[in-house]
Amino acid sequence: MTGLTPKPTSALRTVAPEERSHEVDHPSSLVAMFDTTKPLKLDCGIDLSPFQIAYQTYGELNADKSNAVLICHALTGDQHVANRHPVTGKPGWWETLVGPGRPLDPARYFIICSNVIGGCMGSTGPASLNPATGKVWGLDFPIITIPDMVRAQAMLIDHLGIDTLFAVVGGSMGGMQALQWTVAYPHRVFANLAIACATRHSAQNIAFHELGRQAVMADPEWDHGRYADKGIHPHRGLAVARMAAHITYLSDAALHRKFGRRMQDRELPTFSFDADFQVESYLRYQGSSFVERFDANSYLYLTRAMDYFDIAGDHDGVLAAAFRGIRTRFCVVSFTSDWLFPTSESRALVHALNASSARVSFAEIETDKGHDAFLLDVPEFFDIASAFLDSAGKARGLKASKGS
């Protein structure tokens, strides 16, 4: 999602509310509607109903419905994996992995990606209209969890008439969902590709999320979450949250390599608080472009869902118990410079999977690109993803992709 290119920006831009709200309720994606006969049973005890899920698909489902791949998106991602984004006009966020000749080739797989529950790109979330009040949900929206997101996805997969997914694939929060899929529906997942993720959110990561949420809530325009009623948006608070989070997606080495201490469009310091340094300008750009496409309350809800995630906690503290007797094939990938979801988290997962006798491959990939590496051009990662999916495909009896 992030090209490391500094772009000049003067000030944080205000976005007209109607720009966001259209995709929230009327996404330019496929939409699955679930009426009051099919409520989503949330972990907090509330039945969410009615609700909708916005999703994109690529490729064709084969006759025996054995080639379906679900991609789970990360915190600020959405369903637009491999097509032009309807709001930003940018290419899909995972076109490095998904597309013709890529590890996930639509010529071979039926690829599905849905916007998570609580998101703001067409699936029901705090930015959606609450049918009971006719107003935007805001903080009246119930707290959702990673298992809730997965439960909603399972209802979508049912809706599509698919019993078993060939693979569930995800990085970061998407990896959490992929893992939760095998925990909740072990018989419905043949292969699991979990990238740069963890089975629980660490104290440091919860701390960063709290920082982001406090930045949003400190913005007067947040207005206790009721900003949508007034047609405003806490863009300054949300931009600060994004800037802080964005630092955690990179690495010291990557920042140094890209920006160092170089100045932005100037030779000498201005002796002011302007964005003198390229790195400042870059961060401001990341913040301001993010608020154009993301809802502040949605950011609060989704970060909270990640905070609550703890697979072992749901299984009496024993991680291996969650995967007992599992038949799913796993491929776990981490990146050396990822300090948000460090290799140690992946190792803990791999140990638990080994203890559960699961079939698991694990590779740590050397890169200085930090957590964001999973979204960037890292050929070694693609080789591993391809090989894992190909061998799982063989075991599943899928036809080989063209040219392989």
Partner: protein, 220 residues
Amino acid sequence: MSLQGVLPLNGFSGGERLAYRPDHLLVASMVERGSKVLDIGCGDGDLLQLLESRGIDGRGIELSREGVNHCVAKGLAVVQGDADTDLVDYPDDAFDYVILSQTLQATRRPKAVLENLLRIGRRAIVTFPNFGFWRLRLQLLVGGHMPRTDNLPFTWYDTPNIHFCTIKDFVQLCDEIGVKMERAVALDSYGRPLRVVMPWWFWNMFGEQGVFLLSRGERR
């Protein structure tokens, strides 16, 4: 101690004999079909592929990233890890066999590794270069330099092999930690089993590799 049980390589097709290293064929012949195996230090995954082709559920641990990536590219279930530090995380009795092929001499704590093999697996298969092999002895005795062979090509200053032992040393270690030797085979320079029944000093002199099938002794 007498060493017996020279294994003829029965049960392998001509194609398999051509495609796989003789020592890998020997190890594979020691593993019962349908069992579950952990190969520690699985390298490029050749042995694991042979085992999987024989209906054995194989898993691997490999230290080098390139090795892991090669293995995953072959569709093998291999994780990046270190025999010295990661075996403690595996539960007891997780595997029917644990294989340590040409890796023991590169571990920091061979004794602890060996003990872990027989905790994780009901049986262990260990292969290692025999430092008592006559050519190595001769190089040191006559040449006066650290031995190097085709199978052990490293110089003393860049070798990953930090804990060489002889077949005799290994047998002593097994006795010391109460491990039962089910089978022992010495291989010649071509990886073929020495087909003569001889006292152990002969094997220690003329075997270039030792291959041991171990199980838990009563003292455990």
